[in-house]
């Protein structure tokens, strides 16, 4: 037996003992009328609250709602102290007899997880508990009302009686009744607001408990109001009606639970049948939404190769967090393999068995839709990558124009002006003209170097003429860090693959120099299983982010345009390894 089960059994035994004590008190009472009826009604009501509460507790141990439900039953038993003929016990009984009303309101406000939503709800309930105890004090201090004396002529005197004072008692009685009505109205307002804000599945869950609670509070509030107004017969009738509704709450709660289970079981069998009729027709989401009664339901799919979730359109999707109060998710598997997830209203998480059976039923259809989503994700990726390639082309042209303008062109302008100056001085100041010609020569050398660098950036001639190996050797020779060419293919690869491999290595080495704080890089290009595998590894600080900066993304697009894929492994502190696999 688990510790939870042991605790629940202990509480059940405590309820039996407390019920027995209450019954014994009533049996021995010299002033309680209809003892048999009182014992039966009292015990049925109290035990049904405790029993239902313990069942709810056992079903959902993480929720405090069951504990509160059971607590209402225990507080209800406190009223039996008024059956005592001992003045002190009787007086205590009167003081605590109404605590169960507030315990009940506490339970209502804490639905469904047993926790109060806002701080002021706790203050409101605190005021309610205080009022329960303070409410009977006017009668206990200044003597019973006529109605009380009539209804219980043999009740013991109050142990707190100071002196008989009808005026003081009536004034304070009216005051506490008014405060009581205000608290009841406030609780009602909270409950109705919560109902209006709830989603359809939430409403289905809360309806039985909420509406019986509202009915009881309305009756009680009216009874308090009529008591304050002195309409005693109405107070009695409403009080009894309220108690009747109260006694029925556990029953209504259990019926609601059973009905929703039966309805959901029916919906699941219908789902199974309809999924069998036409699997994978794109209507899966609607059918699951109908089966679970949650119109907000979403289906998401797991892409194993990308290691991420996507929605039906193939767009990346973030699953709700575990502590998300509004949304939850349930994984869907097929033959032990994850295919997707159902993202649903959080209230459905209260019924994991139902979600489990729906998820199991949806496995095959989900796999079909997953394949479609995978295709859409691929199309979406291609579209985005195509747009990026076009944009990268435009950017590249802009960069080239800018580099030409700011670099070689400016040098040629300066060269032209210097030559003009030299020409003007060649006869009058030949020495000055000589200096100017030397400066012009220097400017020309720099212009040539810049043009060479630019041309190499566009497409290195050695790559076209002598192949990838020679181009990489030249690249490694120019790099400011040590670059080890560990492996280079002997044969030429197709031109687009050589170009992609060259620029991949060039960009990777640029990044190594700029960001990695590395002392060495190792470059490897090999033909393996019909693929050209390009790898650049360094011994730097790692932590490279593939989503940051356009350089790596541009390379990934270039590789992906050749049907290849690029992988980046860059754990912080352990260097970076960039690997591309391109089919040959």
């Amino acid at each position: 037996m688990t510790s939870l089960n042991r605790a629940l059994v202990a509480i059940a035994l405590a309820a039996v003992v407390a019920g027995g004590a209450a019954a014994a008190l009533i049996v021995s009472s010299g002033h309680t009328p209809n003892k048999g009826l009182g014992i039966v009604l009292g015990l049925v009501t109290a035990w049904s609250f405790v029993g239902t509460g313990l069942y709810a507790w056992w079903r959902r141990p993480a929720s405090r709602f069951g504990a509160l439900f059971a607590a209402v039953g225990f507080t209800y038993l406190l009223g039996s102290l008024t059956a005592s003929d001992d003045a002190v016990v009787f007086t205590v009984g009167v003081l605590v007899a109404n605590v169960f009303f507030v315990a009940f309101a506490h339970m209502l406000l804490s639905y469904p997880d047993g926790r109060l939503r806002e701080r002021w709800h706790a203050w409101l309930l605190g005021a309610g508990y205080a009022l329960c105890v303070v409410g009977p004090l006017p009668q206990l201090l200044w003597g019973w009302t006529e109605r009380m004396r009539d209804s219980c002529p043999d009740c013991p005197e109050s142990a707190l009686l100071i002196e008989r004072n009808d005026t003081l008692r009536d004034v304070f009685n009216a005051l506490t009744s008014v405060i009581g009505v205000a608290i009841v109205v406030a609780v009602l307002v909270i409950l109705i607001r919560r109902w209006r804000a709830a989603t359809a599945p939430q409403r289905r869950g809360m309806a039985p408990i909420l509406w019986s609670g509202v009915a009881m509070l309305v009756l009680l509030g009216t009874a308090l109001g009529s008591d304050a107004a002195g309409i005693s017969r109405l107070t009695d009738v409403l009080g009894w009606l309220g108690l009747l509704v109260f006694a029925s709450v556990p029953c209504v709660f259990l019926i609601g639970l059973a009905r929703s289970r039966v309805a959901r079981a029916g919906a699941v069998s219908e789902l199974l049948m309809r999924l069998g009729e036409a699997p994978g027709t794109g209507t899966l989401r609607r059918r699951l939404a109908e089966a679970l009664g949650d119109r907000s339901l979403q289906l998401v799919f797991w892409l194993e190769d990308k290691g991420r979730w996507v929605d039906a359109r193939g767009h990346p999707f973030a699953l709700p967090a575990d502590d998300d109060p509004a949304r939850g998710w349930t994984a869907v598997e097929l033959e032990g393999r994850r295919v997707g997830a159902i993202v649903h209203d959080r209230t459905l998480s209260d019924d994991p068995e139902l979600l489990g059976s729906v998820a199991a039923a949806a496995g095959l259809a989900m796999e079909n839709e997953r394949l479609q989503a995978q295709l859409r994700a691929r199309v979406e990726e291609l579209r985005a990558s195509r747009a990026r390639i076009v944009e990268a082309g435009t950017q590249e042209r802009r960069r080239l124009e800018r580099n030409l303008h700011d670099g070689a062109q400016q040098r040629l302008v300066a060269l032209s002006l210097t030559l003009r100056l030299a020409q003007a001085k060649v006869h009058k100041e030949p020495e000055k003209a000589g200096q100017l010609l030397a400066a012009a020569q220097e400017e020309l050398t720099l212009a040539q170097a810049e043009l060479r660098e630019l041309a190499r950036g566009i497409h290195p001639a050695v790559l076209s003429d002598r192949g990838l190996g020679a181009a990489l050797e030249a690249l490694a020779g120019r790099a400011p860090i040590e670059v080890d060419l560990a492996e280079i293919p002997r044969d030429r690869l197709p031109e687009p693959i050589e170009a992609a491999a060259y620029f991949l290595v060039a960009e990777a080495l640029t990044n190594v120099v700029k960001y990695a704080h590395a002392s060495q890089a190792i470059v490897r290009v090999a033909r393996m299983n019909g693929h050209a595998v390009v790898e650049v590894a360094d011994d730097g600080i790692g932590g490279a982010d593939p989503d940051r900066g356009s350089g790596l993304r541009g390379l990934a697009d270039r590789v992906s345009a050749l049907d290849g894929r690029m992988l980046l492994d860059s754990p912080a502190g352990s260097g970076t390894r960039l690997r591309a696999e391109i089919p040959v």
Binding site: H405, Q409, Q410, R411, V413, L417, R420, L421
Partner: protein, 118 residues
């Protein structure tokens, strides 16, 4: 010899500013200041009151055409000569509309060429 015209040179390339200064001063112009962008061109023009502003079209902040329009907005504003390493045909009618007196390709800059436009 071109006598005495007070010139402000505006260009973001220091090498051009330096060469143009030597060239113009050798040909008798009085280069009173230099500016590297549009904003400082406007400030320096107000402060130094040059007769001629040699203004590069492509500046890092305000476009040379806008700077020209602002400088020539008043009747007593300086004469603006636009320069660029690009050809004037790259800019279409923008040169005419900017209020500049004329355009000289940078590689063809000389005192005589400037004097022709003044």
């Amino acid at each position: 010899m071109n006598v005495g015209h007070r010139v402000l040179i505006v260009d973001d390339h220091p090498s051009f500013r330096a060469t143009a200064r030597v060239l113009l001063e050798a040909e008798g112009f009085d280069v009173v200041g230099e500016a590297a962008d549009g904003a400082s061109a406007l400030t320096e023009a107000g402060r130094l009151q040059p007769e001629v502003v040699l203004l590069d079209v492509q500046l890092p902040d305000i476009d040379g055409f806008d700077v020209a329009a602002r400088l020539t907005g008043n009747d007593d504003g300086p004469v603006v000569i636009l320069v660029s390493s690009r050809d004037s045909s790259d800019f279409g009618p923008l040169v005419m509309r900017s209020g500049a007196r004329g355009f000289v390709p940078k590689a063809e800059l000389s005192g005589d060429r400037l004097q022709e436009l003044l």
